[in-house]
Homo-oligomer: 209 residues x 2
Amino acid sequence: MPVKKIDSPQDLSTEAKIRAAARTVFHKKGFAATRTRDIAEEAGINLALLNYYFRSKEKLFQIIMMETMKHFMNGMIGVFNDEKTNLESKIQRVAISYIDLMIKDPEIPLFILSEIRANVDDFFSQMPIAKVILNSALMRQYKKAQADGEISNMEPIHFLINLMSMIVFPFAAAPMLKKVASLTDPQYQKMMEDRKVLIPIWINTLLKP
Amino acid sequence: MPVKKIDSPQDLSTEAKIRAAARTVFHKKGFAATRTRDIAEEAGINLALLNYYFRSKEKLFQIIMMETMKHFMNGMIGVFNDEKTNLESKIQRVAISYIDLMIKDPEIPLFILSEIRANVDDFFSQMPIAKVILNSALMRQYKKAQADGEISNMEPIHFLINLMSMIVFPFAAAPMLKKVASLTDPQYQKMMEDRKVLIPIWINTLLKP
DNA sequence: GTCTATAACGTGATAGAC
DNA sequence: GTCTATCACGTTATAGAC
């Protein structure tokens, strides 16, 4: 009886190989700078197969973009809307899950920020992201805590910006940061690990009434 | 006696027109996505003139990149190394001068973050930025205040990251932010103006001993 | 489904007239 | 210095054999 094997590149279907390669290359170089040949080479397949499976570079890119956005948003929405946790633990979980995601996949933040600039409306027309975030359990709890005088009067939008800034920015600026602070990769990783616990503490400090 | 006129596009030399157009287009679209024809059109000149004055797209880009980095760093270095101001007022001035710079030129942060990724070493080999920042008056004052127990024990690198994150990130994420929070441009601008005074207050709160 | 060969097109760069 | 016309090349996409 054959043992179920973990997927390895050789086991993937051609279509899956192309998709995985496209994700890697697009994430690293962005749409304009990647050539379909890069993707074919990364996937170890013939260039013609890319068009056979995905019709065009643009179609393939849209698939990766949507998939990446969904991946990035799903974690968020889950945590933001968990009715069972309170504000403080939500902040902890946002920091942890996002930093984990970006340690695993450090190209994502800059990829999203860069590629969205060109096509803001395309994506958000399909994703009702504004409503989802502004009406999330997190935001409701935040406003309630404010109304009850349990936290400071920092405007909700600034709270959100500050939280996301402290989490995401050091990843978007990683190459520069490493240079400026002369950090080795392990040192950098350690720092980001530390921030998983530090950011919630800092945010709590800012929210003290 | 002719009155000295403020520069307007018509008054600029052809070379200056191309340079200004290149700055605009490169900042907005990045190197890979801009076509030399875009720049020529933006400048209102013939495509051949671009190569006549700048030899190649790449040479022109390097000029813009260096110029932009210098523009971005100069403000910083001036404030960071002003021996006459104390830590608290330096933090205020960093927030104000950077936010002003990015309100005026909102494409700069994402441009730098994206384009540096491809060529980190190229730029920093020419700019001794690590030494300049780590040995700045700001950093010395920070460490001294810490040794004297006047501020909290937040590690200097985290202090720097948090400060820059809160300042820069909302500009890098502006398109997304506007969508998510359903902000009009004036509302967005107002928010960034507010942050010029709020960020120093928040940072001070974090640094309370 | 997968390959090789090539078409079709876009883009950076230049020649040469003015 | 500035223009038009064109080249040279790289890249996306497809035709057609296997």
